[in-house]
């Protein structure tokens, strides 16, 4: 239930007008009743005029004002008594006026002799004071800053406050600003205790996460947030769930009805009116009892106190107030303790993950700013930041968190619905076909002359504890083959056919050119030049076609300027023809890949002229890289990559540049040939300027039947960039696989 503490409205004109209106209404009603039937009398003794109001006021006040203390109770009682007497005297004067009697004679009915007058005086007094009763509530004694600095009590368990009420998306900043755009509300000590119960003490030294204030929409009552944790009414089926349900996560008991609110609604003086402040925070005793999804998140994810996440400064710089720094905001990042980066403890971040939004208090990061950059005091900077908190980019955070943070939710295996197999799929859309059997890697057939040239098998590489360089068959350093790009306009036949197959995908430009010895059918989205797509495809196709240890059915390469989907046309790369589709970031990639595969597979050269393409000659990969010991982070990275099945790490060093290639392959498999191919492809991917608007590619996903190979160039501060290669089973969860590769890349980069 909403709390009215702090909403005294003593300075609000509407409150005084409302009180005056109630005063007048009470007098008018009482006088009208007296005029209509003055004979209504009750033989009450005179002292009832004193005892009855005092009893009523004394009992009602604690119900109206939560946590009312004795002092407030006495003040409220006195105020009501004065009002009661005032109404009584005014009523007596009116009675005397309308009844043509003396004022002394009218006092008896006005105060106790005429029961409606007594009742109306009491009701009028109560309603008049209704808007001001918030002034009687005790104030929060601990300022927020102090509360945040309070060290947690050992084993302190406090039930956290519920998440904020629902706010429209357009008001996303509104809740952060709080009612009336005011600064952050003082945090209750319960907030500190909540964090204390879930994170180490060092972490709690950081400011506790404060929930945004509640905003009630005028159209409809606010929707109370319900807990999302697995304990919401569900019988826990795990020890973990038992732990969550123990003690602090029970639903709150039904709150005591707020009589004041009921009276407000009854008499129309509630806070829901134009210009009326929205409901503020609930009282602490209710707050403490409500369950929190946030706390559940922290309970599931123990965080090392020293663990941090690094937020690129440019992701948050827009939230800093301009004019608060001596240097332009763009230059502030370079002067941070860690240049261009804000470092935030994971202990601050993880408890908020379950909310879908993460904020950090200014105090947590202010020390990373050198004092010289401030044009005003840091405290003033905080006041000029919305709610004193910086909104952190979730994508950066999630990318850097170890997977065990989410292990509680994704580590419980596939979901099974008992009995569902008893019923067939009820709905079948038009043109529905039975799901195709999973693609099977077809061994090279006789019709595919490229196959014999491929390495027949991956030779096993004996790995010893002290790896020694394996004799290199071809000592010449691996170089990207020089590709002569020449554009030869071919007949538009192929392009038109493929365009028809790609009709569901709105293509912007279609072209067919000869790039080197490959015929590239390029399809580019708006904003991407077809020549750039074709050039990139011509550069990459020979490497993929000739050097890949296994036939690649489709390659998806992501770059800063867009994504290239490269699919061999017809029966494979041996046709010398590839379909290259370029899209800007944000396009419908999954569907595009599916359509491209369908289009490329369905297309067959229709004329001898089309099949006369120069077949790319597969060049066996003869280069051998030196085995190198995997980095210490490789074991953890391999565990991250569970979407690929079990993997082991093998590292190789490119002889010429010394670059490392970290390969993760299924146990028992060797990456001896995979590493040179990945290196070559990474080199071809890096040739940015020639790729035009697509830019250089940072990652590639190669599909081969049920296998998936991801190649990613890792950032390197100095020296050649290492390459991450992950090859394993395609589990049909590309999003998860991609995320896990990203995590592995972060681990290896940090190492």
């Amino acid at each position: 239930m909403a709390s009215f503490s702090g909403t005294s409205n003593l300075t609000k004109p509407w409150a005084w007008l409302a009180a005056l209106a109630v005063f007048g209404l009470a007098l008018a009603s009482s006088t009208a009743l007296y005029v209509v039937n003055p004979a209504v009398k009750m033989p009450l003794p005179w002292w009832t005029a004193v005892v009855a109001p005092v009893l009523v006021y004394g009992l009602v006040l604690p119900l109206c004002v939560p946590r009312l203390r004795l002092g407030g109770w006495l003040i409220g009682l006195s105020t009501l008594a004065v009002l009661h007497v005032g109404i009584g005297l005014a009523t007596a004067w009116l009675y005397a006026t309308v009844g043509f009697t003396s004022f002394e004679q009218a006092l008896v009915p006005a105060l106790w002799g005429f029961p409606p007058a007594l009742v109306l005086a009491m009701v009028g007094s109560l309603v008049m004071t209704l808007p001001f009763l918030g002034a009687l509530a005790p104030r929060a004694a601990v300022p927020r800053q102090r509360a945040e600095a309070v060290p947690p009590r050992a084993g302190a368990v406090k039930k956290p406050r519920q998440a904020p009420e629902i706010v429209p998306a357009k008001d996303r900043q509104a809740w952060a600003r709080g009612p009336g755009g005011a600064g952050p509300a003082p945090a209750a000590p319960a907030t500190v205790a909540r964090v204390a119960s879930s994170v180490p003490a060092e972490a709690v030294a950081a400011p506790a996460v404060e929930e945004p204030p509640v905003v009630v929409l005028p159209d409809e009552p606010a929707v109370h947030a319900a807990p999302l944790s697995g304990v919401n009414g569900a019988a826990p089926d795990t020890a973990e769930a038992d732990e969550l349900t123990a003690g602090s996560y029970d639903l709150p008991p039904a709150a005591v009805p707020d009589l004041r609110q009921a009276l407000s609604e009854l008499f129309g003086t509630s806070t829901a009116g134009p210009g009326v402040e929205p409901t503020l925070e609930p009282p602490d005793e209710l707050v403490a009892d409500e369950p929190s999804f946030t706390a559940a998140a922290s309970a599931e994810a123990p965080v090392a106190p020293e663990a941090v996440v690094r937020i690129p400064f440019d992701r948050v710089v827009g939230q800093l107030p301009p004019g608060a720094f001596r240097v332009p905001l763009e230059q502030v990042g370079a002067r941070l303790l860690e240049a261009e980066t804000l470092v935030v403890p994971q202990a601050v971040v993880v408890p908020q993950l379950g909310e879908g939004v993460v904020q950090v208090a200014w105090e947590v990061v202010v020390e990373q700013f050198p004092a010289a950059v401030f044009a005003v005091g840091p405290a003033e900077v905080k006041e000029r930041i919305v709610n004193g908190r910086l909104l952190l980019p979730l994508d950066e955070i999630v990318r850097q968190l170890p997977p065990d943070v989410f292990a509680a939710s994704i580590g419980r295996g596939p979901v099974e619905v008992p009995g569902i197999e008893s019923f067939p799929a009820p709905f079948k859309p038009l043109g529905w076909e039975a799901p195709p059997e999973p693609d099977v890697v077809e061994p090279a057939s006789a019709a595919a002359p490229v196959s014999p040239a491929l390495p027949p098998a991956i030779p096993e590489l004996e790995r010893s504890p002290e790896p020694e360089p394996v004799p290199v068959a071809a000592e010449a350093p691996v170089q990207v083959p020089a590709i002569e790009t020449r554009y030869v306009a071919l007949p538009q036949g192929n392009a038109e056919k493929l365009a028809a197959l790609l009709a569901p995908w709105e293509t912007a430009a279609l072209d067919e050119v000869q790039v080197g010895d490959f015929a590239i059918i390029s399809v580019s989205a708006t904003g991407l030049a077809g020549s750039a797509v074709a050039a990139a495809a011509g550069r990459l196709s020979p490497v993929i076609a000739r050097r890949a240890p296994r036939p690649v059915e489709q390659a998806t390469l992501r770059g800063v300027g867009g994504t290239l989907v490269l699919t061999p046309v017809g029966s494979g790369w041996n046709t010398g023809m590839a379909l290259a589709v370029g899209v800007r970031p944000g396009g419908s990639l999954a569907r595009l890949e599916m359509l491209a595969r369908r289009a490329a597979a369905a297309h067959e050269p229709s004329s001898p002229a089309e099949s006369r393409q120069t077949l790319p000659q597969t060049v066996p990969t003869t280069a051998r890289f030196d085995p190198a010991p995997p980095p210490p982070a490789a074991a953890a990275a391999a565990e991250d990559l569970e979407a690929f099945g079990p993997l082991t790490a093998q590292s190789y060093r490119e002889p010429a540049s010394g670059a490392l290639i970290h390969c993760f392959v299924p146990p028992g498999a060797s990456a001896a040939e995979l590493a040179p191919f990945a290196w070559e492809l990474a080199q071809a991917m890096a040739q940015g300027p020639q790729a035009g608007p697509l830019g250089s590619f940072h990652s590639a996903v190669l599909r081969s039947g049920r296998e998936r190979l991801e190649i990613r160039r890792l950032p390197s501060a100095a020296g050649p960039a290492p390459v991450l290669v992950v090859g394993g089973a395609d589990t049909g969860r590309p999003g998860l696989a991609r995320l896990q590769v990203e995590r592995a890349a972060v681990r290896l980069s940090a190492a």
Binding site: R172, S409, I410, V415, A425, F427, K428, A590
Partner: protein, 205 residues
Amino acid sequence: MAIINYSQKVINFKVVYYGPGVAGKTANLQHIHKSLPDASKGSMISLAAGDDRTLFFDFLPVSALTVRGFTAKFQLYTVPGQVYYNMTRKLVLRGADGMVFVADSQWDRLRDNVESFRNLEENLREYNTSLDEMPYVIQYNKRDLENIAPLDYMEFLLNRRARRVPSFEAVAVNGDGVFDTLNTVSRMVLVGEFGQEKGEHRETA
């Protein structure tokens, strides 16, 4: 609660698509309506505001199959996702037999997903029921966009109750994952109504 018409041998189920605003609930129904043959669908009723956002609800009756002599019909509803239409959401939720929670996968909509999910739980509680008693699935929509959260984080946000439920990636505007979602929740509803024992069912769609 399923409504059974014994004279016509028809059993009606109500499936509600719930989720935050602009998550793709109406897009799901539109694709279903577009893709089903005429014989197994009725007219789609959609009350939308000027900006094409659902004002009241969308309604699409579809026929599915015959189970133990009864024709199972599903009435698909969406709720308005905007927060200020909670009374409408409560009304639409009444008597639901199954639920599809359509989540927006974009990073900047994650909080809206969480709030909407809590709102769903709260509204169900007012009907003295809960998601623990209700067949439901989760659909992670807009998976074709670039700025989307990874699946495991989406699962962490929305599917970590004691009882995990099936979840699907989808691109509702293209139809990807739409029928997987619908078929699964429908089968879960049928299991809830008829039990696990395999009944005599005949497909009519």
